[in-house]
C-alpha cells in the first residue's frame, strides 16, 4: 500500500493522453492504472488531464450529477467557510478520478453511514452468536413454563421453581456460547487479541442482559405465595453464579466450570429438601432476607476480583 510520511519525488514523466483515456474507460491494465494513480497524487497537471478524460468518458454524466449534488449540499450548509473553494476542488482535482475507477462499487467506504452501520453491528456481533437459539428458546420456555404452571395448573410451586432454575440460566448461556465445543469460531478467536476474555465477558453480559429481565418479569406475574421471596431475589445469586463460573473457568475451562457451578447449585437446592413433602426445593433460605443477599453480593465481588486477577489465564494457549 501507500508509504506514508515520505514526500513524493518530483515526477520524471507525465501521463500521455492515450493512457489517460484508457484509464478513464476502465480498460487500462492494473499495473498501468496503479502507476497512473500514484503519479496523479503528486502531479496536478496530469490529475487535471485525467479528470478531463474521465469527465468526457462513460462515467461523465454520473460524475456531473454527483458534482451538482455535492455543490447543492455545500451551498445548503449553514455557516460554510469557503463554498467556492470547495466547489472548485470538487470540479477539477483528484476526487472525480477516484470515483470514476469504481462506479459500481457498493463503497461509501468509511462514510459516516457505513461506520454507524458497523457500530450497531458490533453490538449484534457480540450478541448474535452469544444468544444461541437453543438457549434463547430455553429462557423463554422457562419463563412461559412457570407462568403456565402457575395459572394453568394452579400450582403454588411455580415461583419457587422459577427462582431455583433462574440463577443457572445465565451460566448455561455462557457455556452454550463460548469455547471449543460450542463455538465454530473458537480456533480463530484463540488467535486474536480480542477473542478471549473480552469476548467472553461480552457474551456473559448478553446472557445476563436477556435472561434477567425475561425471568424476573415472568416471576413478577406469578401469584405471590406465603414465605416465598420476590421475583427479583434471584438476580444477585444469578450474577454471582455467572461470575463464579467465569472465575472457575480460568482454571478448568468454561464448559466444565459451568457444569460444576450449575451442578453445585442444583445439589444445594434439592439435597436438603429430599425427605420433605411436596416439591423437594430448598430455595427460600438461600435467597430470602438481607443476610443471604448480602452474601451473594459479597460472593459476586470476590468472583469479579478473582476474575480480574486471573484475566491473563484466559488467553493462555491450549495445552496438548
Amino acid at each position: 500500500m501507500n508509504t506514508h510520511g515520505t514526500p513524493p519525488p518530483p515526477p520524471s514523466w507525465h501521463v500521455p493522453p492515450d493512457p489517460a483515456a484508457r484509464y478513464a474507460a476502465g480498460t487500462a491494465p492494473e499495473p498501468d492504472a496503479w502507476s497512473l494513480e500514484k503519479h496523479v497524487e503528486a502531479c496536478g497537471t496530469c490529475a487535471g488531464r485525467v479528470s478531463e478524460a474521465v469527465r468526457a468518458g462513460a462515467a461523465g454524466p454520473e460524475l456531473a450529477l454527483g458534482r451538482a449534488e455535492l455543490l447543492r449540499l455545500v451551498e445548503s450548509l449553514p455557516g460554510r467557510a469557503d463554498p467556492t473553494g470547495m466547489a472548485r476542488a470538487a470540479g477539477t482535482t483528484g476526487a472525480p478520478v477516484s470515483t470514476a475507477r469504481a462506479p459500481r462499487a457498493p463503497a461509501k467506504a468509511g462514510s459516516p453511514a457505513a461506520q454507524r452501520r458497523l457500530r450497531t453491528h458490533r453490538l449484534l456481533w457480540a450478541l448474535g452468536p452469544a444468544l444461541r437459539l437453543g438457549w434463547v428458546v430455553g429462557v423463554l420456555l422457562v419463563a412461559l413454563g412457570a407462568v403456565l404452571l402457575a395459572y394453568g395448573a394452579g400450582q403454588a410451586v411455580a415461583r419457587p421453581l422459577l427462582l431455583a432454575v433462574a440463577p443457572v440460566v445465565p451460566v448455561a448461556g455462557v457455556a452454550a456460547s463460548y469455547g471449543r465445543h460450542t463455538d465454530p469460531l473458537h480456533e480463530l478467536h484463540a488467535s486474536m487479541p480480542g477473542g478471549n476474555l473480552r469476548l467472553l465477558l461480552r457474551r456473559t453480559a448478553c446472557a445476563l442482559g436477556l435472561s434477567m429481565p425475561v425471568l424476573t418479569a415472568a416471576g413478577a406475574v406469578l401469584p405471590a405465595a406465603e414465605g416465598v421471596p420476590g421475583a427479583a431475589a434471584w438476580l444477585l445469586p444469578g450474577l454471582a453464579l455467572a461470575l463464579g463460573a467465569l472465575a472457575l473457568g480460568s482454571w478448568i475451562g468454561c464448559r466444565r466450570a459451568s457444569a460444576v457451578v450449575g451442578g453445585g447449585w442444583a445439589l444445594a437446592v434439592t439435597a436438603p429438601a429430599l425427605g420433605e413433602e411436596g416439591l423437594p426445593l430448598h430455595i427460600t433460605p438461600y435467597i430470602d432476607a438481607f443476610a443471604p443477599q448480602a452474601s451473594w453480593a459479597a460472593a459476586a465481588v470476590v468472583c469479579a476480583g478473582l476474575l480480574t486477577v486471573r484475566r491473563t489465564f484466559f488467553d493462555r494457549m491450549e495445552r496438548a
Binding site: A114, P129, M317
Partner: protein, 267 residues
C-alpha cells in the same frame, strides 16, 4: 517496537506432543518475509507448527519468537496477535453473518482502529474477488467462496505474519491460480507461511520450501532446488514411480532419504 512490517519468525527447539505422539521434535526454523511453503505427508507436523505460530496451541518445549516478541509473554503475544492473520484448516463461521459483517467482526477482534474497519473490509473483500457478494450471507456461498472469505478475514488487518493451513483446499484451478498471485503479492512485504499438500502450490507461489516429515525438518531450500533434486535422480523415464514432475520427484526423493537416515522416525 519497529514499524517495520517484517520481523519474521524464529523457532528453536520447538517440541509439540499430543498425548503420546510427538508432533514436532525439537525443530529449529526461521522465516523471513516472503512466501514459505510447508510441505509434508499427513501427520508430518504441519498443522501443529501452524497452530503454535498462530498462538493457539502452546509448545511442549522450545522458544517461539513472532515479529520480535516472545509468545510465552502475555503482553508480547497480544502485540503479535494484532499483526497476525490466520486461516485454520477447519474454518468455522457464523451462518447468519454476511461477508461484510464476518470480516468486520474479525477486524474488530483483531483490535483494528474502528474508523479504518469499513474501508479495510471492502478493500480486502475486493482483493479476494468477492466484492459483488459482500452483502451475501456466508452460508449462501459455495465452498470455494467461503474459503476466500477465510482468506479475506486473515488479510483484513494487513498482517505482518500470515499463516494459512491448507488454503487451496476447495478452490478450483483458476481460483488457485489467482490465489497464488495474491500470496506472492502479500509475500513482498509480509512473512507468509502456507501449509499445503499440493506441490504445485509451492512450485508457483513460494520463495522457500520447508519439508516436514515425522515432526522433523527433512529439507529446506527453494522450489527450484527441490526440483533439481528430482531431475538428477531420474532423468527422462516415463511413468516414474517417484512422481510426474521434477518437484514431485524431488519431494519423494527427499522423503525417502530422510526416512533412511532416521529409521526410528518412520511410522
Amino acid at each position: 517496537m519497529s514499524s517495520d512490517k517484517g520481523g519474521g519468525v524464529t523457532v528453536s527447539g520447538l517440541t509439540v506432543r499430543h498425548r503420546r505422539t510427538l508432533a514436532l521434535d525439537a525443530v529449529d526454523l526461521d522465516f523471513a518475509p516472503g512466501v514459505h511453503g510447508l510441505l509434508g505427508p499427513n501427520g508430518a507436523g504441519k498443522t501443529s507448527l501452524i497452530r503454535v505460530l498462530a498462538t493457539v496451541a502452546a509448545p511442549t518445549a522450545g522458544r517461539v519468537s513472532l515479529l520480535g516478541g516472545d509468545i510465552s509473554n502475555h503482553r508480547e503475544r497480544t502485540e503479535a496477535r494484532r499483526r497476525l492473520g490466520y486461516l485454520p484448516q477447519e474454518f468455522g463461521y457464523y451462518p447468519g453473518f454476511t461477508v461484510r459483517e464476518f470480516v468486520a467482526y474479525v477486524a474488530w477482534l483483531k483490535e483494528m482502529p474502528a474508523a479504518s474497519v469499513p474501508g479495510a473490509v471492502e478493500r480486502v473483500v475486493e482483493r479476494v474477488g468477492l466484492a459483488d457478494r459482500i452483502d451475501a450471507k456466508v452460508k449462501s456461498l459455495s465452498g470455494g467462496m467461503i474459503r476466500r472469505v477465510g482468506i479475506a478475514q486473515a488479510l483484513v488487518n494487513d498482517p505482518a505474519l500470515l499463516l494459512l493451513d491448507e488454503p487451496t483446499a476447495g478452490l478450483d484451478p483458476e481460483q488457485r491460480f489467482e490465489f497464488r498471485a495474491l500470496l506472492r503479492d502479500v509475500g513482498t512485504a509480509s512473512t507468509v507461511i502456507v501449509s499445503t499438500h499440493l506441490v504445485e502450490d509451492v512450485a508457483t507461489a513460494c520463495t522457500e520450501v520447508t519439508l516436514l516429515d515425522a515432526g522433523r525438518v527433512a529439507y529446506r531450500g527453494t522450489p527450484g532446488e527441490l526440483s533439481a533434486l528430482g531431475d538428477e535422480r531420474r532423468p527422462g523415464q516415463e511413468a516414474d514411480p517417484l512422481g510426474d514432475n521434477p518437484i514431485e520427484r524431488g519431494y519423494t526423493t527427499v522423503l525417502r532419504s530422510h526416512r533412511q537416515l532416521l529409521p526410528e522416525a518412520r511410522r
